[in-house]
């Protein structure tokens, strides 16, 4: 599903160079490449950050934090070196956009790093790739080498007085190292567990130096903001939600794929028009709007604009842009179990509520789904999830708890249908009753 798909409503901005051979640096240059970096160099740090604020770009990693504001937190003076860090750990189920960027437009990431480095006056950048994205390392490393060869990286970039080094690094395969502080631990060669905050990365980050860490899409968007102008960019989206984003449509759709659409685009339209609706004449049951950690929406909750604020108002989150569409045949207990299996597997284990909670929830859901459920299980599942929420060391615990609470709350009847030794109705239907002899 990680193929770029298009639809008339699409606004190819970040995806502007996708499929055009821009991994080749000459091609990239031909398509306005590295112009933004030069422009930013003329602007200087304060103006860069001002532009970023004007753009209303909000982080594409999940939390939607205003990027310009994040950059402005980095102290101007620092005894320790400053760093720019690209979060390419993309592991949230339902999310598959960063890999397209790395695959089709690696130089946009590099150019974004250059602009971010100029903004905070960092001399070093890291591009951290998800452990499983081995095939992207080669592409990224070649792009970095080419940029060095052209003098866009290294000493005195673009003939200026500014030095910048960029290193591509890969993880060992853990969702948790997508969390920014765990990523820094991992990058430093330690176990991928999060750090205590405060201090925040902007003040004390990688190797103790002030660090900006952004999602790969966020960073790859930056050159385009400078290409078309921040105000122009902001106008593409809605209030406080500038620009476009790569939505990853997956699940029961006629045309699943990654589409670049303006922020605030209607979800219902996204499913029925952009994604082509539900195949085989089935009915829509539910939608996970922003990656597996966002609370599920029922079929009648989807007439909303897809920006951080509107989805928040609807009781869920825009998250990482992974829209998972479920038709009427999906067993929500099984789906909850599938989700929990992921979080149980990915919990780093550092804190009690998440480590024990995900393990317990997985066991309960497994048993319930298989027909071993007892009455109190349903309340217990909700109780456990509610008691994890807000109590864990990092947001992974919340990411496991929030969808679980929503599943039980919105589809309680389906959970109840699994009780009394009956197990999943779907599986029951598939297995014929044993014939009487």
């Amino acid at each position: 599903m990680a193929t770029l798909t298009t639809h008339p409503d699409c606004v190819p901005l970040v995806s502007y160079r996708f499929g055009k051979g821009a991994t080749n640096i000459d091609k990239y240059l031909e398509l306005d490449g590295y112009k933004s970096a030069r422009k930013a160099m003329e602007l200087g740090p304060d103006a860069i950050i001002a532009e970023m604020k004007t753009s209303n770009l909000r982080g594409r990693g999940g939390a939607g934090f205003p990027t310009g504001m994040k950059w402005s937190f980095v102290p101007k003076q620092s005894a320790k070196p400053k760093y720019v860090l690209v979060n390419g750990d993309e592991s949230e189920p339902g999310t598959c956009k960063d890999r397209l960027i790395f695959e089709h437009d690696p130089h946009a990431v590099i150019e974004g790093v250059i602009i971010a480095a100029l903004a905070i006056q960092a001399k070093m950048g890291f591009i951290y790739l998800r452990g499983e994205y081995r095939y992207l390392i080669e592409i990224m490393e070649k792009a970095v080498a080419d940029a060095y060869a052209r003098g866009f990286l290294g000493k005195k970039i673009f003939g200026s007085d500014f030095d910048l080094d960029v290193v591509v690094q890969t993880g060992a395969g853990a969702y948790e190292v997508g969390e920014e502080s765990a990523l820094m631990e991992s990058l430093e060669g330690k176990r991928g567990i999060p750090r205590i905050r405060p201090p925040f990365p902007a003040v004390v980050g990688l190797y103790g130096g002030p660090t900006i860490i952004n999602n790969a899409e966020t960073i790859a968007t930056v050159p385009h903001i400078f290409r078309i102008g921040a105000a122009e960019y902001a106008k593409l989206g809605t209030e406080r939600n500038g620009g476009t984003r790569l939505f990853c449509l997956s699940g029961h759709l006629v045309r699943p794929g990654v589409y670049e659409l303006p922020m605030g685009y209607n979800l219902k339209k996204m499913i029925y028009e952009v994604g082509g609706g539900i195949p085989n004449g089935k009915k829509l049951k539910a939608v996970v709007p922003g990656g597996s950690s966002t609370p599920v929406l029922t079929a009648d909750e989807i007439d909303i604009g897809m920006d951080f604020d509107q989805v928040g108002k609807a009781g869920s989150m825009l998250g990482s842009g992974g829209v998972v569409v479920l038709d009427e045949t999906v067993c929500m207990v099984e789906f909850a179990l599938r989700t929990m299996k992921f979080y149980q597997h990915e919990s780093c284990g550092w804190c009690i509520p998440c480590r024990e909670g995900t393990d317990w929830l997985k066991k309960s859901l497994t048993r319930l789904h298989a027909g071993g459920g007892v009455d109190k299980d349903i309340d217990n599942i909700r109780y456990l999830a509610e008691n994890m929420l807000g109590r864990t060391f990092c947001p992974l615990g919340d990411a496991a708890a929030m969808p679980t609470i929503a599943f039980v709350k919105k589809f309680r009847k389906e959970f109840e249908d699994h009780l009394e030794g009956r197990g999943c109705p779907k599986h029951r239907a598939a297995e014929p009753e044993p014939a009487l002899v």
């Binding site: 990915e346 780093c348 480590r355 995900t358 393990d359 109590r391």
Partner: protein
């Protein structure tokens, strides 16, 4: 830092800005539950038990990571907070084996306490628990994964506290597990700090596991009998068939000079006391040459009579006495008094492990450092010695100072000792260059050849505003003098001299020397001692330990009284040379020395008696009788009995009941041990007032305080279990001529402790486990 004012549970509090909320609350008596937080170790925020509500902050916050701030309003107990903690406990219990009925920690488990407090009374979990088999990591350390709550205290105390880094965390999520970094076993210092700090029963010790329930023990605070650091230790004792048995050693009482710390010896090296081959009956050599058990009266009468005959026939100068590094101050003092006043000899010595007399002579108003001073010192200069092996308590204090208070440590050594890792500056010198180093430090550039490095070292030391200089037995005689002199040229200097055993310093202070009386008073100046003792004392220096054995070889040593020492093994004495010497030995075991004796008295050890000991830093502490082994007697009692059997006046020897000396109320003797009854019978038989006893070490302590001014410390502080630093540090002497150097460092390691250490099964098993594995023949 400036103080800030904030509100906790409606109370206005103040604390220095930056103080962690959990600490600020504790300081004001508000306890916040915590599994992962541990004072002095890095922050984890992993257990989420310490959550509190801070006004204007949306989520509950962890008190262990939140610094107090001006105007902060905090609630530490509320239904919401109780629910959060309860849920955390419930989550933990979901995978916990709940084998409390057999768990070592049952009854003193933080998880039990928290469950009790927050009432996770309903069992919600019905699924199969994750299980892993128990593992043995070393002779000392066992790990039971299902009980582990992953608070990471063990990992941190081992790494940050001990600088050993033997433990780590493997896997992730619910598969996370504490594991030795060395695959399946530990090659560590075996200190047991991880076991002690574990809030639950996940880490257990080979010496204690599954032996008893905590509430079946009595807990007695006393002092470790091994090295010269004098760590405070709490012994858990339990009634056994033949007395009170020690089942556990720990440092739950953190008020001691060792703070959180105990090494393997202090924690597990008590087990020699419980051995079956302890001597429990007096032995007397028969005409056949055999040692045969006899009654106490028979043995004491025989030894007393024989010593008296030899003294009267051949003179006191033909009798030698060797004292101990592990007996109490009172016993050492009494022993020298007995030697000088009753046997009439100055031939008294002990196994010397440091040149304390030279130190005493050199000190001229400089102050001596207490062990406590090391953790707070701004700078420390360590010359010689390897504290990690020989003074683990000191090493801990120094590491703590460096880690938490930015202490500067300067190390000069002929070996790459481990503490160099904490050193600001490490200077490797040759083994025989210590004296030259002092000359160099004092300003003579020609004394050392490798000047560049040494110069930086010297400049840095001279640049310190205050400094503790601590030195090992590499320094003796005039080198000590030169060192002290160099020290006195620097501002705010304190000094410390390292000797090896629990009461090596006491043995020296109490005058177990042929030429020095208690307080390092030369024997020639014995007048006021003679007056106090009501006897004429020999005024010529006697034979030192080696001279005594030489004399024995020449047939000139009629008798030798050995108390708690094993010189035959230590000094490699040829047994044949002792053929013509009548030997009386007091010991726990039939050691190489006791085996040659004519009379052997089974002695109690330091854990089985009361009195005082002085660590090598001059910290005076009480030891309390914790255990008891039927058939043994404290050395104090044996010396008194022997003196009386020789016809001495017991009231002269132990000045009890006169000069306002305190009466013995029985506290000093273990009330449960039967000792008090036994003493009562003896007192009645000797027409003595049963309430006043010559077996009371405090009667002698009074005399020590009269004659050795440094020991005049407030008695009440001492009695309440606090260490007291000697008043003026060491007692200064006018140095009596040049003395023969008979210092013989014991070179113990973490896992040895002289003869006594050989009888510790725990220590031997660690040593055995370290031996290179032999490959099987086929």
């Amino acid at each position: 830092m400036a103080d800030v004012t904030f509100t906790v549970d409606g109370k206005k509090l103040t604390a220095p800005a930056g103080t962690l909320l959990i600490e600020a609350c504790r300081a004001h008596g508000i306890e916040i539950p915590a599994f992962c937080y541990y004072p002095g170790l890095s922050l984890q925020a992993a257990c989420r038990m310490c959550v509190v509500r801070i006004e204007k902050v949306p989520k509950l916050q962890t008190a262990c990571t939140t610094p107090v701030a001006e105007g902060m309003v905090v609630v530490t107990e509320s239904p919401e907070i109780a629910q959060a903690r309860k849920a955390t406990i419930e989550l933990l219990l979901g995978n916990h084996p709940l084998d409390c009925p057999v768990c070592d920690a049952g009854g003193e488990c933080e998880l039990q306490d928290m469950t009790f407090k927050y009432g996770a009374h309903e069992s919600k979990f019905v699924d199969i628990k994750n299980h892993r088999d128990e593992q043995q990591w070393s002779p000392v350390v066992y790990f039971d994964r299902p009980r582990c709550i992953l608070c990471y205290r063990c990992v941190r105390v081992c790494g940050e506290g001990m600088d050993v880094w033997a433990l780590g965390i493997q896997n992730r999520g619910s598969g996370s597990v504490i594991a030795p970094n060395g695959q399946d076993h530990l090659d560590c210092e075996e200190c047991g700090m991880c076991i002690d700090i574990c809030p639950v029963g996940a880490l257990t010790s080979g010496t204690y596991r599954y032996k008893t329930r905590p509430w079946e023990m009595s807990h007695v605070g006393t002092v470790c009998t091994h090295c010269g650091d004098g760590c405070k230790t709490t012994l858990g004792v339990r009634r056994a068939n033949d007395g009170m048995e020690i089942v556990r050693g720990d440092n739950r009482d953190k008020s001691g000079i060792n703070g959180d710390f105990l090494c393997i010896k202090g924690r597990y090296g008590f087990d020699f006391a419980n051995r079956e081959d302890r001597l429990t009956q007096p032995l007397v050599r028969q005409p056949s040459g055999e040692l045969k058990p006899v009654s106490w009266d028979e043995a004491i009468d025989f030894a007393g009579k024989r010593l008296r005959e030899l003294r009267d026939a051949r003179g006191g100068q033909t009798i030698g006495v060797i004292g101990s590094n592990r007996t109490t101050n009172e016993e050492s003092y009494l022993l020298q008094k007995f030697a000088r006043a009753v046997l009439g000899t100055n031939n008294i010595d002990h196994h010397r492990t440091a040149d304390y007399p030279a130190f005493a002579a050199a000190m001229n108003g400089e102050s001596e450092a207490s062990l406590r001073d090391f953790a707070s010192a701004k700078a420390v200069l360590l010359l010689g010695n390897d504290p990690t092996e020989q003074h683990p308590g000191l090493a801990w204090q120094i590491r703590t100072g460096v880690r938490l208070r930015g202490q500067h440590l300067y190390v000069a050594n002929h070996q790459n000792i481990k503490l160099r890792r904490q050193a600001t500056s490490f200077l490797r010198i040759r083994e025989n260059d210590y004296a030259a180093l002092i000359t160099y430090l004092a300003g003579d550039d020609s004394a050392l050849d490798r000047n560049g490095e040494a110069k930086a070292f010297r400049d840095a030391i001279r640049g310190e505003g205050s400094l503790i200089i601590v030195f090992g037995s590499e320094f003796r005689g005039s080198d000590v003098e030169a060192l002290v002199k160099f020290g006195s040229s620097l501002p705010n200097v304190q000094l410390a001299c390292l000797g090896d055993y629990a009461n090596s310093r006491g043995a020296a202070d109490m005058g177990l020397y042929p030429d020095l009386l208690p307080g390092y008073v030369p024997v020639i100046a014995a007048a006021h001692f003679a007056q106090e003792y009501g006897a004429s004392l020999p005024s010529q220096p006697g034979l030192d330990l080696l001279q005594m054995f030489d004399a024995a070889g020449h047939g000139e040593l009629a008798a030798l009284y050995v108390v708690g020492a094993n010189p035959v093994a230590r000094y490699n004495i040829d047994p044949a040379s002792l053929r013509n010497t009548f030997i009386v030995a007091q010991d726990l075991f039939l050691t190489e020395t006791a085996r040659l004796a004519d009379v052997v008295f089974p002695a109690a050890n330091l854990y089985e008696k009361s009195g005082s000991v002085t660590n090598t830093f001059g910290d005076l502490q009480l030891v309390k009788k914790a255990a008891d082994r039927a058939g043994t007697r404290a050395d104090f009692e044996l010396i008194v009995r022997l003196a009386v059997a020789m016809g001495a006046d017991v009231k002269q020897l132990v000045p009890f009941g006169h000069r306002g000396v305190r009466a013995d109320m029985g506290q000093a003797r273990g009330a449960q041990s039967g000792e008090a009854d036994r003493h009562g019978v003896w007192l009645a038989a000797h027409h003595l007032e049963p309430k006043l006893s010559p077996f009371d070490p405090f009667a002698i302590f009074d005399e020590i305080q009269r004659l050795v001014p440094a020991y005049e410390v407030p008695r009440l502080d001492l009695l309440s279990g606090n260490d007291q630093h000697l008043r003026s540090g060491l007692v200064q002497i006018q140095h009596a001529a040049t003395r023969r150097d008979v210092v013989w460092p014991s070179n113990d390691t973490l896992f040895t402790s002289g003869t006594l250490g050989r009888y510790s099964r725990t220590m031997s098993s660690v040593l055995e486990s370290r031996e290179p594995a032999e490959t099987a023949a086929d």
